[in-house]
Every structure is written in structure tokens, then in C-alpha cells.
């Protein structure tokens, strides 16, 4: 083989290898350049969703709890003696409004309820019950009735039975008024019953279907200035014909969670000296400033301090069968 042929073969070998190596180096760049996946990916998510149609924004909390009542200082007693499911935050706006307007707020403890129930009521102008989980003794019910008959104001406020089966108003077993012995119902004593299941509305609600709107049904001091309130866990309230008037009701597409029965449902009732409201959250720090809830809280505070209670009622309980010298007050 001649030297010229050998050099020619080597030259061909070098050129081919060089071409292959250069080509291998260029190909990745060419692929990246021609690939559309990297730079022109369709934004499927943006095509599918319109954020402006999806985003839900909570309404800003606004307003203050105001009281219109211009009365002398009154005493409002809040019951915490019956294992009431209520926290300090749950009633803070109501308490703040009362105190800021010169009224006294006292809490009825379990000891007070056992030993000084009558005397506590005697010194009170209004009595507030929120979510009791312990029943009232017959004597306590009798005292409360006398308190109310004497012009004392009573507010019964309760949420539905909880989902875990923990009974709230279920423990207020309806009993004939004046039933003797053992425990007796409280709300039924006033011709009022609270539903044990939550209300919901899938059509018109605030943020969640369980936050239902309620609107005034009649002219009443409790709903004066109220256009719409939000109840976060509302119970339907039923009342007998002489118990008072329905003053707040939900919309007609509201339903009861367990039975799916459709509304509208009464959620607040007002009588001469009694109000019953089927939700306690409306006066909590969380919800008191949603919709017109702060107006309702202010009206409730006004209701509590505008009664005209007879002094000295309820009278001390007489424990003897025969009349005799008065005993020391209970």
C-alpha cells in the first residue's frame, strides 16, 4: 500500500469522526430550538378557570354595637350555672355594650343557682340563658316564671343540637307547665321550642350554606333597624300562639339539615318580656359585625334593660305547708 493511500485513508477517518462529533454536539441544541413544549405550553388552567368568577371575599366587618335605651342602670344576669355552652368571646359584644352603657352584668354560677337562685333573680332586671346543657329544677322554673310575670326580661338563646349528639336544648325536655318533680323544660314553659337540627340554604348564604340570612317579619323592638342578619348555626324556633310574635325568619329556600324540610323558618321570637333566638353566634366577636348583626345585638341589649320589673320579685320561696312566719329568703 502506498504512503499516499495510507495518508488518504487517515484523512478520511479524521474528517468522518470530526463530522460525527460535531454533529452530536449540535443535535441537542437543534432539538431544543425546534421543541415547542418548552416555550409555548398552553396554559390549560387559565383557559379552564376564571378567577374573577371563583373568588369569594368575606364582607368587611363593620359597625358598632349601639344601645338606644336611656334608662337607669339595670342588672343583667347571665346564666353559666347550667353547663351553658357559651364562651366569653361568645357574648363579649353584648356584655361590652351593656357595661359601656352603665349597666351591671353578673354571672349566675352553679352555687348561686343551687343556693340563691331566687335572690339572684330578685336583684336582677333581666336574665340571659345561652345554650344550657343542664336542665332547670322545677323551683327554678317557677321562679323564672314569676320573674317574667313581674316584668323581668328573659332572653333564651340557643343553637341546634350538635352533630355529635351532644344535646343542647334537647335537655329541655318539654313538660307541662308546672310539672312537678325532678327536671322540667324551660323553653316549653314559655311556649317556645328550639329545633335540634341546623338550618341551611344552598341558594342564598354568607360564605357557607350553614350561614343563613334572616330578615325581620314584623315591627318589633328587637329588629328595629335590621335589614338582614347572619346566623351561623341557626335552629328553627317554634312558638305557641300566645308566646309572642315571630320577628326574624329565614328565606323560603332554607331547609332543615336532618329532615330536608323547606322553610321559611322562624329563628327569633319576641313576647312582652321574653325573646328567643335560635342562634348564639350572632353576638360572638366573630359574627357580631357581619350584616346587621351588630344592630340586633344592640337591640337585644336594649330589650334587656327596658323592662319594668316589680321590685322584690320573685318573692322568697315558702317551704312550709302552712302559713307561718316568713323564712329567710332562698
Amino acid at each position: 500500500m502506498s504512503q499516499r493511500n495510507l495518508l488518504g485513508g487517515v484523512a478520511v477517518f479524521v474528517v468522518v469522526v470530526a463530522l460525527i462529533v460535531v454533529g452530536a454536539a449540535i443535535v441537542p441544541y437543534a432539538q431544543a430550538f425546534t421543541s415547542s413544549e418548552q416555550t409555548n405550553t398552553t396554559n390549560v388552567a387559565k383557559q379552564q378557570y376564571d378567577a374573577s368568577e371563583l373568588v369569594v371575599t368575606p364582607a368587611p366587618d363593620a359597625g358598632t354595637v349601639k344601645m338606644d335605651a336611656n334608662t337607669e342602670s339595670k342588672t343583667v344576669v347571665i346564666d353559666v350555672a347550667h353547663e351553658n355552652d357559651v364562651s366569653e368571646k361568645g357574648i363579649q359584644p353584648l356584655v361590652d355594650a351593656l357595661v359601656a352603657n352603665g349597666h351591671n352584668v353578673k354571672y349566675l354560677t352553679r352555687d348561686d343557682a343551687r343556693q340563691n337562685f331566687n335572690s339572684t333573680l330578685r336583684k336582677a332586671d333581666a336574665f340571659v340563658v345561652v345554650n344550657p346543657e343542664r336542665t332547670y329544677k322545677t323551683k327554678q322554673l317557677d321562679a323564672l316564671r314569676k320573674f317574667e310575670d313581674a316584668g323581668g326580661r328573659v332572653a333564651l338563646i340557643g343553637d341546634p343540637q350538635s352533630a355529635q349528639g351532644m344535646s343542647l336544648f334537647g335537655l329541655f325536655a318539654p313538660m307541662p307547665r308546672g310539672g312537678s318533680g325532678g327536671d322540667a323544660g324551660l323553653t316549653s314553659d314559655y311556649g317556645i321550642t328550639f329545633g335540634s337540627s341546623s338550618l341551611y340554604n344552598m341558594h342564598d348564604y354568607y360564605l357557607n350554606h350553614q350561614n343563613v340570612y334572616a330578615t325581620p317579619q314584623s315591627n318589633s323592638s328587637l329588629t328595629e333597624g335590621v335589614d338582614k342578619v347572619v346566623f351561623r348555626d341557626a335552629a328553627p324556633v317554634s312558638l305557641s300562639s300566645d308566646a309572642g310574635s315571630a320577628v326574624l325568619a329565614t328565606g323560603d329556600q332554607t331547609r332543615i339539615e336532618t329532615s330536608r324540610q323547606s322553610g321559611p323558618f322562624t329563628v327569633a321570637v319576641q313576647g312582652d318580656n321574653v325573646v328567643a333566638i335560635g342562634d348564639s353566634d350572632f353576638m360572638s366577636t366573630q359574627s357580631a359585625y357581619e350584616a346587621d348583626n351588630e344592630v340586633l345585638v344592640g337591640n337585644l341589649a336594649d330589650f334587656l334593660v327596658t323592662g319594668d320589673k316589680t321590685e322584690g320579685a320573685p318573692e322568697p320561696v315558702s317551704t312550709g305547708q302552712n302559713s307561718g312566719p316568713p323564712r329567710a329568703p332562698a
Binding site: 379552564q48 368568577e53 371563583l54 371575599t57 368575606p58 357581619e290
Partner: protein
């Protein structure tokens, strides 16, 4: 004395060697070239959506569907679904991945046992949804934990740093619900016999009922779904390729307690390691959280 080979002999030898080399190289390359040139059979890909939907499940499905879109021999996709849903964000990703694929080729879904919540979300872009009569379909809704009480043992730069308010949490969940329910109405309003509000009840239906109220299109098995997908793609003959079930790392189990399905988790569905966050879920069934784990899964 040995005589030198003539020029002709040398040339002949080179030619023979070149020929032999060419034959050897050709024999090696021929099958490769043949395979490369021969027309590939049309295929229907069957992809499983199995178990609790987590970010791993979404990763796997996105990868599988991307491969399907890039593989020219695959002409249609069947989603083989048996899942109660899971993470809301993962379910949403899977829905978007299926939606993208459905724009390029027929996608048909077959519900095996459970096609609820996030799994139903995933199936929505399907051209046709089959379910067996006893399967469970629906549960169009979102759930999430309530805001956690703020701790007093740390300093935060803002009031919402660690948690949020109830209003904000409810608004977030309502926003996700709108996306989910809106997508259901977008894809199936022509078939559904119920209103948007009725869908938002988040009820779960048997496959039999779902075929009547429009949640699914028909009663049918996986094979029927495959046939349907092939027909939609215009295939006379085809091969079926099955993708492996989605990655089950951190999988969830089901058990029965008092007749209710319980999702048993290997780790909390509402957080990351050491951090309890408020992940939103699109899942049907009772969720047991970290401290209630009753079993682990190694699959």
C-alpha cells in the same frame, strides 16, 4: 521466494473484506431499521387512577398522559378509576391534565368501585363515563379543617401568619367549591338532570342512579369503555397498553367501620412533616387524621 500479490489480487481482497464488513453491519442494522420503518399498531392506553389522590398520584398521571400525547401510536385513553378523591390541589391538577389530553384524543372513563369527589373531578373531561351499578360516583364538594386557634408560644409577623379567620377559611373553601361545581356544570350540564345547587349538595350516588341523573353516561365495564374509546378514535384494530397504577407512595387505605368507609392515612392529609397545615380535600368518606392511624401500607 514469495511473489508479491498483484494489484488485482489486493483489490479483490479489499472488496471481499468490505463486503463481509457490510454484511455484518447490515445484519445488525436491518432489524432496527425494519422496526423503525414498519408501521406501528394503533393503541388504546388504559391508565389507572387508584386510591387516595395525592400530589404523587397527580405527578404520575401528568407524566403518563404526557407520554400518551407524545406517543403517536396511542390514539385514545381510558381512565380506569377506583378512588374516593383526595387532595383538592392534586385533583385539580389531574383534571387539568385529563382536560388537556381530551383536546387531543378521545378520553373515556370507567369507574371500577369508587369515582367520587376528586376522582370524579379527574374524569369530568371524559367524552363518556361508564360505571358499574354498584360503584359510587359524585360527592362534588370540598372540605377543610376549621382555623386552628392561635398559639401563644411564638412571635408572628402578622395576625394571619399561622392560621386564618373563620370567614377567610370559609371563603377559601367556597372558592374551591365554585371551581369544582362550575367544572361539573361546564362538562356535564347537558347530561345532568339536576341544578347547580343540587350538585353542590355533594351527594354520592350509586352507578345505577348516576346513569339516570347524568353523573355518568352509561352502565358499563372497563372493556366497554375501551371499545368506546377505540370507536371514538376510529380504530378498527388496536392494541391495549396498560399504564402502571399511579405511584402509591404514602397511600391511603379503606376499611369498614359500622358500614361507613374510613380513609386510613399513613400520614396526615392536612399537612407536611412536622407542620400541620390546612390542605383542602376533595374526598368522600370519613378522614382519620395522624393520631388515629390504624395501619400502614407498604405498596
Amino acid at each position: 521466494m514469495v511473489s508479491k500479490p498483484s494489484n488485482a489480487t489486493t483489490r479483490k481482497t479489499v472488496y471481499i473484506l468490505a463486503l463481509v464488513a457490510a454484511v455484518l453491519v447490515g445484519a445488525f442494522l436491518a432489524p432496527i431499521v425494519s422496526d423503525a420503518v414498519a408501521p406501528e399498531p394503533d393503541r388504546v392506553a388504559v391508565i389507572s387512577v387508584d386510591g387516595y389522590i395525592s400530589s404523587n398520584t397527580a405527578d404520575q398521571l401528568e407524566e403518563d398522559l404526557e407520554e400518551v400525547r407524545e406517543n403517536e401510536s396511542i390514539k385514545a385513553v381510558v381512565l380506569k378509576v377506583d378512588s374516593p378523591g383526595g387532595s383538592a390541589s392534586a385533583s385539580e391538577r389531574m383534571y387539568l391534565a385529563v382536560n388537556r389530553t381530551a383536546k387531543e384524543m378521545p378520553v373515556v372513563s370507567s369507574v371500577q368501585g369508587m369515582g367520587a369527589s376528586g376522582a370524579y373531578y379527574t374524569m369530568l373531561p371524559s367524552e363518556h363515563i361508564y360505571a358499574t351499578p354498584s360503584s359510587m360516583v359524585g360527592s362534588v364538594g370540598v372540605r377543610g379543617s376549621k382555623p386552628m386557634p392561635s398559639g401563644g408560644n411564638e412571635i408572628r409577623t402578622g395576625p394571619d401568619k399561622a392560621s386564618t379567620t373563620m370567614d377567610q377559611r370559609e371563603a377559601q373553601i367556597e372558592t374551591l367549591k365554585r371551581g369544582f361545581v362550575g367544572s361539573v356544570m361546564k362538562h356535564r350540564s347537558d347530561e345532568l338532570t339536576m341544578s347547580r345547587q343540587e350538585v353542590a349538595y355533594a351527594k354520592v350516588y350509586t352507578g345505577a342512579r348516576a346513569s339516570q341523573n347524568g353523573y355518568v353516561d352509561d352502565i358499563g365495564t372497563l372493556q366497554k369503555a375501551i371499545d368506546h374509546a377505540a370507536n371514538e378514535a376510529g380504530l378498527d384494530s388496536y392494541e391495549v397498553v396498560e399504564k402502571e397504577p399511579a405511584n402509591r407512595f404514602g397511600i391511603f387505605l379503606f376499611s369498614e367501620r359500622n358500614g361507613n368507609a374510613t380513609v386510613v392515612v399513613e400520614k396526615s392529609p392536612v399537612g407536611y412533616d412536622g407542620v400541620r397545615t390546612s390542605e383542602f380535600l376533595m374526598v368522600y368518606g370519613q378522614v382519620q387524621y395522624e393520631d388515629e392511624v390504624i395501619g400502614n401500607v407498604s405498596a
